[in-house]
């Protein structure tokens, strides 16, 4: 298939990932920033066999159907940004390799009542060198934490931004994406 280098009028689709634990508000976040209602699809992803699978003697890869919600923001005639919520179930986290392929960056949504739910996402993006920030979704009932408390609890690198947000609010959620873009630009400036 021909590649899309923009020379023939085809817009190019760009990908951001919205990650975090189950029920943290990923689809809500996508819905707040998307210009369309969040859409839903299922993709067949390849998974390297891990853990107990080895006991069966079946090595190699298997495929699993993974459900994803996504939204869209038109950037220009040349670029369309897609936001994919990663599957929330923790047992799926090792599949993100294929999901994350080609991702420009990621938002890790955190709920301070269940901070540990975002450990796998933080580990994954750090190990793959995908730029990300942590956005603490402030639910009404949530105790407020200082960003530095969250940083030390998640053992984040000093340059990984932490922001507070309301995932239901368009301005707030868009502000998170702006923060991510500024972070990605700053990372490039440091190289």
């Amino acid at each position: 298939m021909p590649l899309n280098d923009g020379s023939d009028g085809f817009p190019s689709a760009l990908k951001l990932l919205i990650a975090g634990g189950f029920g943290v508000g990923k689809t809500t976040f996508v819905g707040a920033v998307s210009e369309i209602e969040p859409l839903h699809t299922e993709e067949l992803l390849t998974t390297a066999s891990v853990g107990t699978d080895r006991l069966t003697g079946v090595e190699g890869k298997s495929t699993t159907t993974v459900a994803m919600d996504f939204g869209r923001i038109t950037i220009s005639q040349q670029h369309v940004l897609y936001l994919f919520g990663t599957p929330g179930q923790e047992r799926f986290w090792f599949m993100w390799d294929e999901l994350s392929s080609g991702a420009m960056g990621a938002v890790v949504l955190a709920d301070t009542r269940r901070l540990e739910d975002c450990f796998p996402a933080v580990d994954f993006f750090e190990s793959r060198g995908i730029g990300f920030l942590v956005a603490v979704n402030e639910f009404d009932t949530t105790c407020r934490y200082e960003p530095d408390d969250v940083r030390s609890a998640l053992d984040l690198k000093p340059d990984t931004p932490i922001v507070l947000c309301d995932a239901r609010d368009q301005r707030s959620a868009t502000g998170v994406l702006i923060g991510l873009m500024q972070h990605l630009l700053a990372q490039q400036a440091c190289r």
Binding site: M1, K15, T41, T65, L177
Partner: protein
């Protein structure tokens, strides 16, 4: 919405026919496609009568869109949608481009374009 298709869809149960039925049991598309591959109708008329799923898929390609969006609107798994769309590519009625590998997080022009567009939305 897909009015003509509604009786084949149940909100609780999902599609009432097995997904691979619409691809004639095939599980591999003839053209490699990704979720974010762009597709658009070429404007050429199909030779012969398209099946209902192929016709629906083609109808969703009137303007630039992605495999992921077509799959979501057809309410079909992405892998089945890729097979339908690759048929349409083979028949010359849809054109496709894979995502631009240069549009990554090291591309300052792209990052700045996204930042500008987001700031305009606030």
């Amino acid at each position: 919405m897909l009015d003509t298709d509604e009786h084949w869809f149940d909100d609780a149960a999902g599609r009432l026919i097995r997904p691979y039925t619409v691809s004639n049991g095939r599980t591999e598309p003839t053209t490699r496609m990704e979720l974010l591959s762009m597709v658009i109708a070429t404007g050429r008329r199909p030779q012969g009568q398209l099946g209902p799923e192929h016709a629906q898929a083609l109808g969703l390609c009137d303007s630039f869109t992605t495999v992921a969006e077509v799959a979501a609107r057809l309410r079909l798994p992405a892998v089945v949608t890729k097979i339908l769309l690759s048929d349409l590519v083979d028949w010359g009625v849809v054109d496709t481009r894979a995502p631009d590998p240069m549009a990554d997080s090291t591309n300052l022009t792209v990052l700045e374009a996204i930042l500008d567009a987001l700031e305009r939305r606030i």
